[in-house]
């Protein structure tokens, strides 16, 4: 895809010098487009706006949705491009980083020059293009991860972290907007020729937000997947108990929840097995301690007015006290995997810290067996799709599997990852205002607290 001009030069003695490769100069067309968008910054996208295109869902509302996408996405995409262009030159030269940059430029150009959508028919075509674009970006994170790993010596870890945080958050937003439109288009397609779409699928979906996500079902789904993965890797896997408010449902984006759960469960399972094997030997078949999962839901109490009026922060005092307080769905994953070594605690949320002996970690020096370290098993097993760069054939679907309509796959992938799982899980969990916290009791086990902010109707959440 990338077209490099390679030059072979001869020095004065006639010997061939190294082939140099420089990227082609940026095309005029692109520069003009980017210039046009120079002053256009991404605008806050209220969730309610996106959801409104689906209620009610009609041929005309889908056109509005498409137009909204065409307005908003280029702004966000060009911002992605700019932030990558701001990386040090040598980093931008890395083929993996360069590949991603080019891919974003292309997508930006495509969308910025796309013809406007005027009816439901032209929307079908537009949405097909959108789906292709989404698919082409499926492996952005693993590719970037690989690139940054190779560039570790050129950039400080904090700078990489900060870049990745921004990149991933922005990516979540872009995909959310795109996928929402794709989902609405599909829903409309299922009911062709109707003026309005009657009550939607049993999942109570208005696009990618399911107003009645069942944590219990999602936990079951993810547990089954991780269980298979664990047995495939270690030959054994712990059982799981689920308690708390098991009947509760809440409005959220199911794939986000599933991604976070899968990452955390992988860590919990791996720790449990490894800790057990460390204590009783690799061939022990003894009972593994269970992983306990607890579900809870609550709406916070309102903020007392007197607290607002004195020593208040920047936020206007009326804003908080008149708004309805937020609701949260909490999930606690508790394992007896021995906990995290205190010396690793600082680093477990930083990108590319892992003690897994993965395919790409041969240069890492943090392989001191011994105490369980919170390895972030993200990367491939959680994200990979076709065309993954890991050659061991890992094809464990997940987040993006669903988006391309395949549903959650339960293929086997490696459980060892790139070290991106924990920081990404935290990004996803905190995306709409939630959180992810980890507490370790070294010598016993780890508790992970995940909180999702419920996407209720009347809140002013932004994408």
């Amino acid at each position: 895809m990338l077209r490099y001009k390679s030059r072979t030069t001869l020095n004065f003695t006639g010997r061939r010098l190294l082939q140099t490769q420089t990227p082609p100069p940026t095309s005029q067309e692109y520069l003009q487009l980017a210039g046009a968008y120079k002053s256009l910054k991404p605008r806050p996208t209220p969730l309610s706006t996106l959801l409104s295109f689906g209620s009610p869902l009609t041929p005309s509302s889908i056109v509005l949705s498409a137009s909204y996408v065409l307005e908003e996405l280029p702004r966000r995409l060009v911002q992605r491009v700019r932030s990558m262009e701001a990386l040090p030159y040598i980093v931008g030269m890395n083929p993996f980083i360069a590949r991603t940059l080019e891919s974003y430029r292309q997508t930006f150009q495509d969308l910025a020059t796309a013809p406007p959508v005027v009816d439901a028919a032209s929307n079908i075509e537009f949405t097909r293009r959108l789906e292709n674009l989404v698919r082409s970006h499926a492996n952005d994170i693993p590719v970037l991860a690989r690139g940054f790993q190779e560039c570790a010596k050129y950039m400080r870890p904090e700078v990489i972290s900060s870049f990745l945080d921004g990149a991933i958050r922005s990516r979540i937003a872009i995909r959310f907007i795109a996928e929402q439109h794709i989902a609405l288009t599909r829903a409309l397609k299922l009911h062709p020729g109707t003026q309005t779409v009657p009550s939607l699928e049993p999942t109570h979906s208005r696009g990618v937000v399911d107003s009645e996500c069942s944590p219990f079902e999602m936990v079951n789904l993810c547990t089954t997947f991780v269980h298979e993965l664990c047995v495939g890797t270690f030959g054994m896997a712990p059982d799981v108990t689920i308690d708390g408010m098991t009947d509760v449902t809440f409005p959220y984006v199911p794939v986000h929840v599933e991604y976070v759960l899968t990452e955390i469960l992988k860590n919990a399972f791996r720790a449990t097995v490894e800790n057990h094997q460390r204590k009783y030997g690799i061939h022990s078949t003894g009972p593994l301690p269970q992983v306990q999962i607890t579900i809870a839901y609550a709406t916070l109490p309102p903020v007392p007015p007197s607290v607002e009026t004195s020593f208040s922060d920047n936020e206007a005092s009326t804003a908080v006290s008149t708004r309805k307080p937020p609701s949260y769905l909490s999930i606690r994953v508790r394992d007896q995997g021995g906990g995290v070594d205190p010396k690793d605690l600082q680093r477990i949320f930083s990108y590319a810290f892992t003690t897994a002996r993965g395919v790409l970690n041969t240069e890492d020096s943090d392989l001191e067996g011994g105490p369980y370290a919170m390895q972030a098993v993200g990367g491939l097993a959680g994200i990979a799709d076709t065309g993954s760069m890991d050659t061991d054939g890992g094809d464990a679907g997940g987040l993006f599997g669903e988006i391309v309509g395949k549903g959650l796959q339960t293929g086997l992938g490696t459980i060892a990852g790139l070290g991106y799982g924990l920081p990404m899980a935290r990004l996803y969990a905190s995306y709409f205002g939630g959180s992810l916290e980890l507490i370790s009791m070294h010598g016993h086990g780890t508790d992970v607290f995940i909180k999702f902010r419920c996407l209720d109707e009347n809140t002013n959440i932004e994408v």
């Binding site: 809870a296 839901y297 906990g339 205190p342 010598g443 607290f449």
Partner: protein
């Protein structure tokens, strides 16, 4: 030329200015702050647990006297730091009735200590111990009085200023008590050993084989016992808890053998506070949701080479803080962070306790019973305020627990599953190499 003045032996500041009062009738005037500054400019000599144990291990009369003089010279330095700190608070705060009372109290202690003569023999140490007892007693009501005073004068301080000031005061206070009580315990231990030749499980106030489960079991037993005047009794004074046929069950698991060296009083204060919170919260849930299976409170212990860990997990419904708060606000003394500080019930409780003879010393015994306490003054005390309908909840338990936990470098963390329950995580260092967490 030498000018003879016909004066009494009162300090020279009386002569210098007609406006000055002698030190015996109150804190000295602005111009006589010199002595204080002398001490306040000295650095605090911080100790580690290990040093405290090491010094107390092979006790001789000589070392006992050395310890006495060390305490004698270190205490006024620590108090001087506090006084200077108070002097920098807003005028309106320190002139408030209760804060002023504490300011006076501190000056009196400072003067007494700085003028105390050197200790040279056993008899001198005995007298010094008596003196220490007295001072500790005098200051027993300082916590609630100061807390009350600060709550009242909180409009003059930002939440952070109030918090950090109170925290510094409490930390310093604990540090002075650690020094004093350790020396007192060493003196007593020395006397005992001479008499009985017993091998002891403690060096001063530090218990060398402190088993976490044993402490937990002790309190679990007390909580579930029917003995009058005990913790269970106090818990049942709460009208909600009274209606329960049975208080929530507490279970201990994990590394039940874990032992380490620590100040038992500190560990047990924290444990009891956390257990009581869990029992109250769970009990309330049991009342309001009678159809729900009552949750078990689970205490889990673990350890590694550096630390000992304890987790107390309950199903009491969670902390349910509003979106402006974080769990660490519960450690705050400022009413902005924790609006319950200004609750009438709290203020009344503070006032009540501040007037009580034994005051409040942040000791486990106080939690167990309002009447029973191992302080000498309370043994003599006959009259006690009638037990009120609701127990006196001053709201100091969590802030104090946090200070005890962090004193030698440990941590205390609260995690809430809103709607379900709370998990509290305590971590205490076991090597004893961390220095006291007081300002130098």
């Amino acid at each position: 030329m030498f000018i003879r003045r016909h004066v009494s032996t009162t300090p020279t500041n009386r002569i210098l200015s007609p406006f000055l009062r002698g030190y015996s009738s109150g804190p000295p005037h602005f111009y006589s702050n010199k002595q204080l500054e002398l001490y306040a400019n000295r650095k605090t000599h911080r100790l580690s647990l290990r040093q405290l144990v090491f010094f107390g291990r092979s006790m001789t009369e000589d070392r006992l006297i050395k310890s006495a003089n060390y305490v004698r010279t270190e205490l006024p330095v620590r108090i001087a730091h506090r006084i200077r700190d108070m002097q920098l608070l807003p005028y309106a705060v320190v002139t408030e009735e209760h804060v002023a009372q504490i300011y006076s109290l501190y000056w009196s202690a400072f003067e007494k200590l700085r003028n105390y003569p050197q200790i040279n023999d056993r008899a001198g140490n005995d007298r010094f111990c008596e003196f220490l007892h007295e001072i500790l007693q005098e200051h027993s009501a300082a916590i609630p009085i100061l807390s009350l005073g600060l709550s009242i004068s909180s409009p003059h301080l930002t939440p952070d200023e109030l918090d950090s000031f109170m925290r510094r005061m409490l930390v310093s206070r604990i540090s002075r008590r650690v020094l004093a009580e350790h020396h007192l315990a060493l003196s007593e231990g020395f006397a005992q050993r001479e008499k009985f030749q017993t091998s002891v499980e403690n060096v001063g106030i530090i218990f060398t084989g402190l088993n976490v489960k044993r402490s937990l079991d002790k309190f679990i037993k007390l909580i579930s016992s029917d003995a009058p005047g005990g913790i269970a009794d106090r818990l049942r004074q709460d009208s909600v808890l009274r209606s329960l046929p049975k208080l929530p069950e507490i279970v201990v698991d994990g590394e039940v053998d874990a032992t380490f060296s620590y100040i038992r009083e500190h560990l047990e204060y924290i444990i009891l506070e956390l257990l009581l919170n869990a029992v109250r919260a769970t009990g309330y849930q049991m009342c309001f949701l009678p159809d729900k299976v009552p949750g078990v409170i689970r205490a889990t212990i673990s350890s590694d080479k550096d630390d000992v860990y304890l987790r107390i997990s309950d199903q009491g419904g969670g902390l349910m803080l509003n979106e402006r708060q974080t769990p660490s606000d519960l450690y705050s003394f400022s009413h902005h962070r924790n609006i319950t500080r200004l609750d009438d019930a709290r203020l009344v409780a503070l006032q009540h306790v501040s007037r009580r003879k034994g005051g409040m010393m942040g000791k486990v015994s106080e939690k167990i019973s309002a009447r029973n306490s191992n302080t000498r003054a309370q043994e003599e005390q006959e009259e006690v305020a009638e037990q009120e309908e609701e127990p006196q909840r001053m709201g100091m338990g969590l802030p104090l627990s946090n200070i005890y936990a962090t004193y030698f470098g440990g941590t205390l963390e609260l995690m809430s599953m809103d709607g379900w329950g709370t998990d509290v995580y305590l971590k205490l260092p076991r090597l004893g190499t961390n220095l006291e967490g007081i300002e130098v």
